[in-house]
Chain length 157, copies 2
């Protein structure tokens, strides 16, 4: 098949970004995740769409919630455990989850299987967004240069 041209895109054409912008000691915890920024590659600006791969034993992020961003995830392949305040749920391909802005229920996805898990994630880009991490001493804020992190008392890492 001929290679797709914009506005169509085959994700194999998009190189992944590995790891996170977290400071240590958190960076090491999510060093294995791989994100392909499909929305950016397609020229979208109002929200981001990533195709994210979580290897066996890895997590998608620190458990967190957003003040102003709506977040959506859809499982493409493999199996992931969704962790929230209410506990755990196992998600398989075709299942999804949504995290409305401002709902104080930290979430993350854990891969407890022996094979890669892949999901689509969507999040809109609110300049006033703040990210809360209930389990860790870290806080995130949107800035024009991307997300910036401090300790919860505002001091830098």
């Amino acid at each position: 098949m001929a290679q797709l041209k914009l506005p169509a895109l085959d994700p194999v054409q998009v190189p992944p970004r590995v790891g996170s912008a977290y400071p240590e000691p958190f960076k090491s915890r999510v060093s294995a995740r791989r994100k392909q920024r499909l929305g950016d590659a397609l020229g979208l600006k109002n929200y981001g769409v990533n195709l994210t791969t979580i290897p066996p034993g890895a997590v998608s992020a620190l458990r967190h919630w957003h003040s102003h961003e709506d977040e959506f995830i859809y499982i493409v392949s493999g199996e992931l455990v969704l962790v929230t305040n209410d506990g755990e749920q196992r998600l398989t391909p075709g299942m999804c989850a949504g995290f409305p802005a401002g709902r104080a229920d930290g979430h993350c996805l854990v891969n407890r299987t022996q094979r890669d898990a892949v999901f689509l994630e969507v999040g809109d880009r609110r300049p006033e967004d703040a990210v809360t991490y209930p389990d860790d001493d870290i806080a995130g804020r949107a800035t024009p240069q991307g997300r910036r992190f401090t300790r919860k008392d505002g001091t830098p890492y």
Copy 2:
């Protein structure tokens, strides 16, 4: 497996809406499409996420583009032909496309196969959005009550 609870959701739990809000003679052209509004079911407000099924021979929409909405689609199953100004491209599962706000390139998806095709679609909700249909005498505008349609000269259907 136990039924998922929010913030997780299995799309089988979401009843589809069949057809469109287009006036005739356009309504009949997309009467077969089925949309499951996953984003609404998950309580998301900043953008919509639909899981949309296009039966054999059907189309996703009239060919169109948005003034202010970014649109993203991801093929889940089956095969769809993307039609744009530049012609046609065949999309299979895992492929995607994106339509940045304001880019004057009308698009739609056609199912030319003998089986259902399913895709995810994301669109943000801009109150100032206008929809242009290059091939048809119809115009769309966002309103607080949803999208409203007129002829291109503004007269009602």
